[in-house]
């Protein structure tokens, strides 16, 4: 087991290094001058040149690359070109908010999606199936920011149950829950839509298996067959999708973060891209890669839990 871990970690480091290198060069190839963005449009060419010099942008690319790598090795990710604040600090400040939102959305999505998917599969081509499939289609096709604004209109303006601005800063659990509610519902419903479809098709496939017919023949109650035997097998594709989507969710959350005004990684990276904040973009890419790698690792471990046949040696 530990050999497995070490091999995976080794691959992760290589992946990280590869991503970092690619990102480093791509952002610098993008047109758009960070010095110009920082100084604003009234700046004279002279000031812009001076800032470029100060930011080290006039050095040859490879020199900049080596300087950056040198920093990374000792844990210095540099400072944001725009704000001057350390990149690591900026990321860590907003990371908890993103993790909070993502995890809660995920749980919500699973709790709603899996039972609905199962139910829909079991009652295939009957009314419940149609309802669930249409609902899931709506959830998938409605853009995140549209559903966010609809939620705001309904629950914050008309019903006044929740605040428009969710700060994520609440001191009590209740305050944090109140702030988290609408954004988590927004993302959670989208997740649920995905999970429903996957759960449904996985379940359908499992229900066609021979052992299900055998269990039926043995006289087992259908409910027991579904929840005790089928579900576990159907979960593997679901876990795969959830694992994949988790990585995407952290990026997708930017629309929700913007509408609900929550701090988050999504907003941070979009801002950094618009402002050509190279150092921030590099730091963010590493975090994203780390997250995706860790999530993949975790997903693989969960497989092992679900299916005892899967063993890592």
């Amino acid at each position: 087991m530990s050999a497995f871990f070490i091999k995976r970690l080794g691959f992760s480091v290589i992946t990280l290094f590869g991503v970092l290198t690619i990102v480093f060069f791509i952002v610098r190839v993008l047109p758009g001058d960070p010095a110009l963005v920082i100084l604003g449009d009234q700046a004279s060419q002279v000031s812009i040149e001076a800032l470029r010099e100060r930011l080290g942008l006039n050095e040859p690319l490879f020199v900049q690359y080596l300087q950056f790598l040198g920093g990374v090795v000792v844990g210095d990710w540099g400072v944001s070109m725009v704000s001057g604040r350390p990149v690591v600090e900026e990321i860590l400040k907003v990371l908890p908010a993103t993790v909070e939102l993502t995890v809660v959305s995920l749980i919500l999505g699973a709790v709603i999606g899996i039972p609905l998917g199962v139910w829909s599969a079991v009652r295939r081509n009957e009314l419940p199936d149609y309802i669930v499939r249409i609902a899931s289609l709506l959830g998938l096709s409605l853009p995140a920011f549209v559903s966010a604004i609809l939620l705001l209109l309904m629950f914050s303006i008309t019903l006044r149950w929740f605040p428009v601005m969710s700060s994520g800063q609440g001191d009590t659990l209740l305050e944090r829950a109140r702030d988290l509610a609408l954004p988590a519902i927004n993302l959670g419903l989208i997740m649920a839509a995905y999970i429903t479809r996957v759960a449904r098709s996985a379940m359908l496939e499992v229900l066609n298996q021979d052992y299900v017919r055998t269990a039926h023949a043995k006289g087992l109650v259908f409910r027991v067959i579904v929840w005790r035997h089928c579900l576990r097998n159907a979960l593997i594709p679901v876990v795969t999708v959830v694992g994949l989507y988790l990585g995407i969710l952290i990026g997708n959350s930017v629309l929700t973060e913007i509408v609900f005004n929550r701090p988050g990684l999504g907003k941070l990276i979009v801002g950094a891209l618009n402002q050509r904040d190279y150092t921030m973009l590099q730091g963010m890419m590493v975090i994203y890669t780390l997250i995706v790698v860790l999530v993949n690792l975790f997903t693989d471990l969960v497989y092992g839990l679900i299916d005892p046949r899967i063993q890592y040696s």
């Binding site: 963005v37 920082i38 449009d41 009234q42 725009v82």
Partner: protein
């Protein structure tokens, strides 16, 4: 048991919604994802400058509620004298100005330090503005002498709390070092208290402000990039003051919220279409005039919204000191446009290219222009790029037709120098934003800068504007004023016509009425 617990927590949630200290806390909604650089000698973005506005003083200031330098009044300096040649300025400072927090009283040394810092090109974004300054000295504990190397008529305008004129405290800058850019220290009515990334910056009242302790105790400057969320938050009463969109539909929508006061502020942001005079066929003045004739300015103003737009005819925005309406204009006439094009050797029309930003507000303007020009046989091709890319490309002199929208210090000199003086031509070492390669009024612009007689100065500026419009270096389209709205329970204590720093004047006089 469970049911009542749920009910209780639901009630608590509802009660907790929107609770804040009524009457002394001001919540402001700003269209930005996060704070940028909040060092007053570096900050150039509207959100950052708007915040710093409430935290700093200058040697002099423009009367709160106005944006024109004709309303300059004492601030940190209680009086000043100028030598006859206009080269030596002596300022006598107030003795009761306190720096925020524990950084002590402000004296002449602080002022000298601050101005030196504003003139230092390694730190300040605005060092260029003070190129005429030879020296700044403390000639007394509360006396500062500034010596210029050449006369500059509008020099006093460079000492208002805007850009380099913001006075910072030496002890604070030295003590905080690089951190000063994260928690700036000034002398104004409000001081920095807390920063929550991507959320807000909190300011608290400065109890030792020399004009009196502010009635408002806290300001939450909230970063809400989503227009819809910001509007909804204002509607729900969660913010009291909101940065507006220069949009007719926004005005109409916000007007419907009861208890709302909408204010339009100078300086306006003018949209100009710059024609690159070095790229054929735009090198022929007849072609440029043809384009001017093809533009239906009234239709464009209607399109943008009557309430929020002013038609523009001069290369200097209306309302800026030195503006004149007495310039050559080109009436909307498709026939005249076609005739001029034929005369210039293009009977079948012309094709011109524009590098254009995908920013929605600016893009729609260009699309309307494109269809107007098409009627006159002018094919305007738009190369759409992302905003930061756009800024770089137009400065690389890559665009034939360039739309630019900007507000500047409301004196003709700034606009003329940055957009129409040959030194500022893009692609040169001294470039600023002269996209048209205009060089027809250099003499007038330079002479006006040093002219001390206001009447003669206005005349020089008028001549410059006339020459520029005669040659059609650029075509002014319209001007949008800054739009803000706030709860009418908030009384700012002054009539608001304009604000140089682009945010409403929230001073020690601002208070909520009940």
């Amino acid at each position: 048991m469970k049911k009542s617990a749920i009910a209780a927590s639901a009630l608590a949630m509802i009660a907790a919604t929107g609770a804040h200290a009524a009457g002394t806390t001001l919540n402001v909604g700003m269209a930005s994802a996060d704070a940028g650089v909040i060092d007053p000698h570096v900050a150039t973005s509207t959100p950052d400058k708007g915040l710093l506005h409430w935290m700093f003083n200058g040697l002099v200031r423009i009367k709160p509620g106005q944006a024109s330098p004709e309303f300059i009044e004492p601030d940190i300096a209680e009086s000043w004298t100028t030598s006859d040649d206009g080269l030596t300025w002596v300022f006598k400072l107030r003795e009761d100005v306190e720096c925020h927090g524990d950084f002590g009283p402000l004296d002449a040394q602080d002022v000298v330090f601050s101005l030196d810092r504003a003139m230092d090109p390694d730190i300040s974004s605005f060092a260029n503005d003070y190129s005429a300054v030879q020296s700044v000295e403390a000639t007394g504990d509360y006396e500062v002498t500034i010596t210029l190397s050449s006369g500059e008529a509008g020099f006093l305008g460079k000492l208002v709390p805007y850009h380099g004129g913001n006075i910072v405290c030496q002890d604070a800058v030295e003590a905080l070092g690089d951190d000063f850019a994260n928690r700036p220290v000034g002398t104004g009515p409000f001081m920095f208290d807390e920063y929550q990334p991507q959320q807000y910056i909190k300011l608290i009242a400065n109890p030792e402000y020399f004009r009196g302790e502010p009635k408002i105790q806290e300001i939450y400057y909230r970063y809400i990039p989503s227009d819809a969320s910001r509007d909804l938050a204002f509607q729900a009463g969660e913010i009291d003051m909101i940065y507006g969109r220069q949009d007719q539909t926004w005005v109409e929508r916000i007007q419907e919220i009861p208890g709302t006061k909408i204010v339009k502020m100078q300086p306006g942001e003018m949209t100009l279409i710059h024609l690159n005079m070095t790229m054929p066929p735009l090198d022929d003045v007849r072609v440029r005039r043809a384009i001017a004739h093809a533009i239906n300015r009234d239709a464009m103003v209607q399109f943008r919204g009557q309430d929020v737009t002013l038609a523009a005819i001069s290369p200097v925005p209306e309302g800026y000191q030195g503006f004149t309406a007495d310039v050559p204009t080109y009436d909307f006439s498709v026939d005249q446009a076609k005739a001029l094009l034929a005369e210039a050797g293009h009977p079948d029309g012309i094709t011109v290219k524009s590098v254009q930003t995908s920013l929605p507000g600016m893009l729609t303007t260009m699309e309307v222009l494109q269809s107007l020009l098409r009627d006159a046989g002018i094919d305007l091709q738009l190369e759409l790029v992302e905003h930061a890319t756009f800024h770089q490309m137009i400065r690389d002199d890559a665009s034939q037709v360039t739309q630019y929208s900007a507000a500047r210090f409301p004196v003709a000199d700034t606009y003329l120098t940055q957009f129409f003086h040959s030194d500022a031509i893009v692609g040169t070492p001294t470039a600023i934003t002269n996209f048209s390669h205009c060089a027809v009024a250099d003499a007038e612009i330079e002479a006006a800068r040093t002219e001390t007689d206001p009447a003669k100065q206005d005349e020089l500026w008028a001549t410059a504007q006339q020459k520029i419009m005669e040659e059609v270096c650029a075509i002014p389209i319209y001007q949008n004023l800054q739009l803000w709205a706030w709860n009418d329970k908030l009384d700012l204590g002054v009539e608001v016509k304009g604000s140089l720093n682009l945010s409403p004047p929230v001073t020690e006089q601002a208070a909520f009425s009940e």
